[in-house]
């Protein structure tokens, strides 16, 4: 074994990235074979966070499933409910009131701002630029405060409901929103200054993770990653829904800003910073043109559940999440008050496809940048874990817990503590 290792070391190393690694915030495994500093072979293994969440939804009623979908991921905690709500409304034939549609759009855009700023911080951290990570996350507090004021929590907002929203936006919230918009207009300029002009940031991201338009199309890349490669794709533009249908949203692509497209991590930064500004415009439009009216199409939850039990239908809901398009497929069969089939496709599901081709031939130092540049969300991507003992028997939660307690005791005895 040892000799084998030594002979390997002289030529090629295997660098295991994950399931636990400082560059990853969630579990996934990238096995890279490295020759010097060049990656010569790469393999991506997913499924470490597969929780069978769709099955859990099929056991619950629609309202419970909606809030379960919020727990698919904490950062996209509006994107999944949004897509689920859109799909359910299509399946059930419910039209949400106009005011609710505008409020939904505002919340979704607020989430985009915080997610993009979070990404900017993460990518800075991956290249060793921690002070900028702290700075961007400091800027992010403002939007989280506004979200907390409107929805009640900093994350997991519990805002959406099939056929509307649960809470109204009051005058005081609108003041806070206007204040926030001014704050981020200045902050976006600062971010452009710092990220786009920094020599080392440029050196580390230019021509790294370079995705051509053709490859992006072939690999089904979506969201800001595809837009950074110059593809004009954006669900808000292609299949507008809710308030986006009133606003002429256009995909932000680097060729409109810089005049050329590289499709690298630098362009991805560019696209995300300009999308923050675009979101601010959308929020401003929404609060200026907010219609009056009620918030829920069916205000009583019990009535809603009864309607669902009586309705047959299926629907696909697509929402442009901060990371790309998230698609929910829901089918109601008129026998139970929850979905019989529920399938989630998160943006990272498609975006991880590009890791293989991009990592091949890249440098070891570029691995974190390639991994981070699509803004992977593995809890969205993976959604049954079985643990077996040596006889192949499936262990349940309590047995595993007891085993770990016993092991701790054994180690303690061994050490004589």
């Amino acid at each position: 074994m040892a000799n084998d290792k030594v002979s390997k070391i002289s030529k090629r190393y295997e660098i295991p990235i994950g399931p636990i690694h400082p560059a990853l915030k969630e579990p996934i495994r990238v096995e890279a074979e490295v020759k010097g500093e060049k990656v010569v072979k790469v393999d991506v293994k997913r499924g470490f966070a597969h929780r069978g969440i769709e099955y859990m939804g099929m056991k619950r009623n629609a309202i419970q499933t909606l809030y379960l979908s919020e727990r698919i991921c904490g950062i996209c905690s509006i994107s999944h409910p949004y897509a689920f709500v859109l799909a359910s409304e299509k399946a059930l034939g419910i039209e949400p009131p106009p005011r609710a549609q505008y409020i939904r759009t505002i919340i979704a855009e607020l989430e985009r701002i915080h997610s993009h700023i979070l990404w900017l911080g993460v990518v800075a951290h991956e290249i060793g630029f921690d002070p900028i990570l702290f700075w961007t996350w400091k800027l992010r507090e403002k939007v989280l405060d506004v979200l907390e004021a409107i929805t009640g929590n900093r994350i997991n907002y519990a805002m959406y409901m099939i056929g509307g929203v649960r809470r109204d936006i009051k005058e005081s919230h609108i003041l806070a929103l206007r204040d926030m918009i001014d704050y981020y207009r200045k902050a976006a300029d600062q971010m452009k200054d710092i990220f786009l002009s920094d020599p080392i940031y440029k050196a580390r991201t230019k021509d790294v993770a370079k995705l051509s338009q053709d490859l992006a199309l072939k690999l089904n890349i979506v969201g800001p990653t595809a837009r950074a490669a110059g593809l004009r794709v954006d669900i808000r533009q292609d299949i507008p829904y809710d308030a986006y249908a009133d606003i002429d949203v256009r995909a932000v692509v680097p060729q409109d800003i810089m005049g050329e497209v590289n499709g690298d991590a630098y362009d991805a930064t560019l696209v995300r910073i300009y999308e923050i500004e675009q979101s601010l415009d959308i929020i401003e439009y929404c609060i200026n043109n907010m219609p009056e009216g009620k918030l829920l199409a069916i205000p009583n939850y019990v009535a809603l559940l009864t309607t669902i039990r009586k309705t047959q239908g299926e629907g696909i809901g697509a929402h442009e999440a901060p990371r790309g398009e998230v698609i929910h497929y829901v089918k109601y069969d008129g026998t139970r008050d929850g979905p019989v089939v529920w399938k989630v496709i998160a943006p990272s599901y498609n975006n991880i496809n590009c890791w293989g081709p991009l990592l091949l031939g890249a440098e070891v130092a570029d691995i974190p940048v390639v991994i981070a540049f699509i803004d992977p969300c593995l809890c969205c991507n993976d959604r049954i874990a079985f643990v077996k003992d040596e006889n192949g028997r499936v262990l349940d939660y309590f047995e595993i817990h007891n085993m770990s307690v016993n092991k701790t005791m054994k180690i303690k005895r061994m050490l004589g503590v």
Partner: protein, 322 residues
């Protein structure tokens, strides 16, 4: 054996450790304030070392155990010896006369080399990649460093640090030499973070890429020794720069005269203050405001720009002196 020898043998390393850790604490605090954080208390590095020392030391299965365990000691010993060559204010260096700038150059290399060998012996892919990177980086920054030291040798016609520290170098050369010296200073300042494995040149320990690289397998006492050697070397390197470029004494600068014991204390504090200012400028500020380079970018930077800068400085200095 005199009392002074005992002081230099025991007191000086102890002082070195305390100063190194203190400066590390100040560095962490200021870096935290630059990023709008409160940061750890200044005594935190002492606690870190204390905690590491009582932790279990693990030697990986694939490691060559004796090399793996010896290298931290070599690293700390070389840093300590380095400290003994640096004049402390107007107090002469303890090892005065037993070596000169060339020995210092070797001692600086030895510490980095010890870390690289330790990394290779750990038998982990992360540590091996880290060690490779460290070697490449070392090859890159040694050249400018050597040029700077040659420049000083040209001016003083001697490699002795005490001679250099006695007369400020700026008084020995004319305007052309000044430009040359400034270029050498700039080159040395760029080499400093690389020498100390700090951002933007902490490529060998890149946390997000290779999980602390060289140090990934080290734990407990061994890690504590590396931590200490890093703290001591940071102090020594900056102190060396102060001795080379800013040896102005307090009494010279302000035209004051003190009696014997008082002047020792004041000059000592003055020296520490100078080191602190340079430490904050050359280490803290730089490591807070730059991202990490890729290894080939770093070595290109050193081989082309920094080398040209240092060589130009050397030529200017040589023109002046010859």
């Amino acid at each position: 054996m005199t009392l002074a020898t005992i002081f230099y043998a025991i007191g000086f390393p102890l002082l070195g450790i305390i100063l190194g850790l203190l400066y590390k604490g100040i560095d962490r605090k200021i870096s935290a304030r630059m990023t709008s954080r409160i940061g750890p208390p200044i005594r935190q590095p002492f606690w870190d070392v204390g905690k590491l020392l009582i932790k279990e030391t693990v030697v990986p299965e694939n490691a060559v155990a004796w090399i793996f365990n010896v290298m931290p000691i070599v690293a700390l010993a070389s840093s300590m010896t380095l400290l003994l060559y640096i004049p402390f204010g107007i107090i002469k260096a303890p090892l005065e006369g037993y070596g000169d700038l060339v020995v210092i150059l070797y001692l600086l290399t030895l510490q980095a080399l010890a870390m690289a060998i330790g990394g290779f012996s750990a038998g982990s892919p992360f540590a091996s990649v880290g060690a490779q990177r460290e070697m490449i980086l070392m090859m890159s920054y040694e050249m400018p460093l050597a040029i700077v030291i040659t420049g000083f040798a040209l001016i003083y016609k001697s490699f002795s640090l005490s001679t250099i520290a006695l007369t400020p170098v700026w008084t020995l050369v004319g305007p052309v030499g000044w430009i040359g010296l400034l270029l050498l200073l700039a080159a040395l300042l760029i080499v400093t973070p690389a020498e100390l494995a700090k951002l933007p040149f902490d490529i060998a320990e890149a946390e997000t890429e290779i999980a602390e690289g060289l140090l990934s397998e080290y734990s407990g006492r061994n890690l504590a020794l590396f931590y200490l050697s890093d703290a001591v070397r940071s102090f020594a390197m900056v102190a060396l720069e102060v001795a080379l470029f800013f040896p102005f004494t307090f009494s010279q600068g302000f035209g004051l005269q003190f009696s014997e014991p008082v002047s020792y204390i004041i000059e000592g504090l003055w020296f520490l203050a100078k080191v602190l200012i340079l430490y904050i400028l050359a280490v803290t500020l730089v490591r807070t405001s730059f991202a990490r380079f890729r290894i080939e970018q770093a070595s290109r930077l050193f081989w082309t720009y920094v080398n040209i800068m240092a060589l130009l400085g050397l030529i200017l200095v040589a023109l002046e002196v010859m």
